[in-house]
């Protein structure tokens, strides 16, 4: 069925969003049309404001509404440690633990040979600039525990080696609360490799 122009355009734009198919786009569009105009305006303004005001932090490349993000500008953070993550969502996940007091570096992706994403397509160049500037003693690689995350971590380990910075990787193994007999061979092998003294 052909919808009137503005509705069709709204559906088309919503359909471009990740995870939103044609049916979901229609449902969202009709939901918005059924709400007060003020609500739709607030949503539109929030999207525009985020798009116009949010940029990458000049230091760590995380999303921020200032030239330097709140983590990088916090003098209480330990500037000798940088934790490398794939996306800003990972920064939020690590911050929720309340156990890390160092700085971050957001790659905005991971090296993915099968997808044709190389080192030049993520923010590795900016990371190397930070490391060359000095002062960093430990680089914590917190890329995802999958093949792309591993390729990124191994590549970083190699390119950082000449700079004399200690490189560590987040531990991998059994999830909290899981049963050992339900774990797969790969996870148990990683957990055995990463075992530590009690």
């Amino acid at each position: 069925m052909a919808f009137p122009g503005p509705i069709a355009r709204l559906i088309e734009e919503l359909n471009r969003l990740p995870g939103v198919g044609p049916k979901s786009a229609q449902r969202l569009a009709f939901h918005l049309l059924g709400r007060p105009a003020e609500e739709a305006r607030r949503l539109a303004e929030a999207i525009l404001a985020a798009r116009e005001r949010v940029r990458r932090c000049e230091v760590c490349c995380d999303w921020t509404d200032a030239p330097v993000c709140r983590v990088c500008s916090d003098p209480r953070r330990d500037a000798t440690k940088i934790c490398v993550v794939e996306s800003p969502k990972d920064v939020a996940a690590l911050e929720r633990t309340g156990r890390y007091d160092g700085l971050y570096h957001v790659l905005h992706g991971a090296i993915s040979p099968l997808s044709g994403v190389g080192p030049g397509d993520v923010t590795i160049g900016r990371l190397l600039e930070r490391l060359r500037a000095g002062g960093v003693q430990e680089l914590i690689l917190a890329t995802d525990p999958d093949v792309d995350g591993e390729a990124t971590a191994l590549y970083l380990k190699d390119v950082v080696a000449p700079l004399g910075v200690r490189v560590t990787r987040l531990a991998r193994g059994l999830p909290e609360g899981g049963d050992l007999d339900f774990a797969d061979e790969l996870t148990i092998a990683r957990a055995l490799e990463g075992r530590r003294e009690l």
Binding site: I111, G116, G118, V147, E150, V159, D184, L186, T187
Partner: protein, 294 residues
Amino acid sequence: MATYKAEALVLDSRPFGEADRLVALLAMDGRRIRAVARGARRPESRLAAAVQPFVLGRYLLWRGRSLDGVSQAEIVEPFVRLRADGPRIAAASYVAELALAFAGDDESPGLGPLVCLAFRELASGDGELPAERRDRVLCATEAGLLSAAGYRPNLEACVVCGRAPAGEGRPAGGFLPSEGGVVCADCQARAGEGTVLALGGEALAVLRRLFAGEEAGASPFARLARLRISPRAQAEVEAALRAHLGYVLQATPKSAAFLDILSASGKARREGGDGLGRAREGRPRPPADGRELP
């Protein structure tokens, strides 16, 4: 819901939706299966490890209208060492991408075991994968895939004039990718610059050995491992194979770029540099009009 079982290698695995993965499997009978693994990106998922690239597993799949789905999975061989260093990941990704390009909906006997064997070769040995070993495994894999798909190059007679390409006092000619075979020195001179790749007598012998087929016994990996090959001949063999692949597939494997970067940085480190000043160069690339594999 109809289900079926397959022993298969995971050749590609990409994030899909909120927490799912879209996987490309190569069944041991050579069929390509695309399936969704629901929730496989959640740490507690029982499918998470089994749908990682390069894993050999037994899968229970359900048939969907557009996409099949992974219902259960059991790891047979995780090929953990393929994730141990960058060169192994890059080489295994290249093999996986090529295998996916050759696989289809129909059975292709020999394809699954060949890729499995390539993964075993790349995973074997301690320490970082030596460049020479990696290049030989990749050449053998390329030759095996081309043979299995029926794209064996013509290595016996000049593809232009039909005479023997070299020998009996005549200099070796070259390799003409657009014609899928070797050319003699006389025809090479007439073909024009840039269209013919250099291919000396040693490289031609290596290529013939690689494509010798079942009658030569052993796998292409074993046949190549026994040969002594000069660096120049190795480079010529690589260039000819990749050019031939480029014309067959009409595309450039995306993973070749990462392979090139690691080759260049590894070479720089071996020559005393720090490996940081890498360039996108290294192994010859297929002349495939810049198109990449989907």
